[in-house]
Symmetry: C2
Subunit: 146 residues, 2 copies
Amino acid sequence: MLSKASEYAIRALVYITIKNRDAVRPGYREISREIEAPEQFTAKILQTCVRNKLLQSVRGRGGGFFFDPESKPLTLIEIINTIEGMSLFTRCGIGLSKCSDTAPCPIHKEYAVIRDQYQQLTTNTTIDNLADKIISGEGVLNRMFN
Amino acid sequence: MLSKASEYAIRALVYITIKNRDAVRPGYREISREIEAPEQFTAKILQTCVRNKLLQSVRGRGGGFFFDPESKPLTLIEIINTIEGMSLFTRCGIGLSKCSDTAPCPIHKEYAVIRDQYQQLTTNTTIDNLADKIISGEGVLNRMFN
DNA sequence: GTATAAAAAGACAAAAAAGTCTTTAAATAA
DNA sequence: TTATTTAAAGACTTTTTTGTCTTTTTATAC
């Protein structure tokens, strides 16, 4: 299960993407309100994204967050890795420190299948994919858009 | 991802099962040592299991933990539910409070598939299944058994 | 230039999870 | 009966995660 920080990050970045498509650069107040996440905590998470070049920002009047239109699509796994690291995709299913294909825990194989599927999903899904679904009405972020 | 408490619980209960098959009722000191988990924390987790009737114990000299041989096989999901609840199997993939089939988050369907597979795995896997694998040498708990 | 509006930064606080310590209760062996 | 061994119980501590508050920096508008 993702940390709250990762969840907020994904929701925030989807929101930013949607607004950017209308040439708007939202600020963290608006973002946190719309994705229903704590304001300052959202700000801090977005700072982390900016520091790690997943996202850009401008300060001052009329500032806000935005994506470089030139940059390649951002995958969920990149965000997760930035916010909480990769342990979700590497950790043993029952917490053995030295579980591996050669010395597997008794649920290793079955767990690895599921864990790898999740890794595939987060690798193949981009923030743009999610934004598309919101805009097409296939999915919901929280509030409605207009 | 499971909490550490759930991981320790599963490992401890597998260990107890294996020892019980040799008519031995291990204590929490031995258990925690063998599964490489903190001693008192393991004791507390086992207490929770006993209180919730997943497991039995006897106090005093020669006491320890054991399973009622009459009781039906214990599944992983029962243990997880006892230790940390079911949120792992119900929570939205990006943390939306009101994500559902009718108002799905943009990754709802794909995430639900994986989450349900994990639920199936933990529902269909019993502590005995894991113990069997250890004994047959297909899997490893941590130290070797003899 | 000055006021204003925004993100950045960092210290701080609260909550949750993980882990420890000490005392009590219960069972057995002697 | 008494000593010993074991689990139970509960208070306590530490660490991690989550969240807040205050100040600083930077950009823009006037």
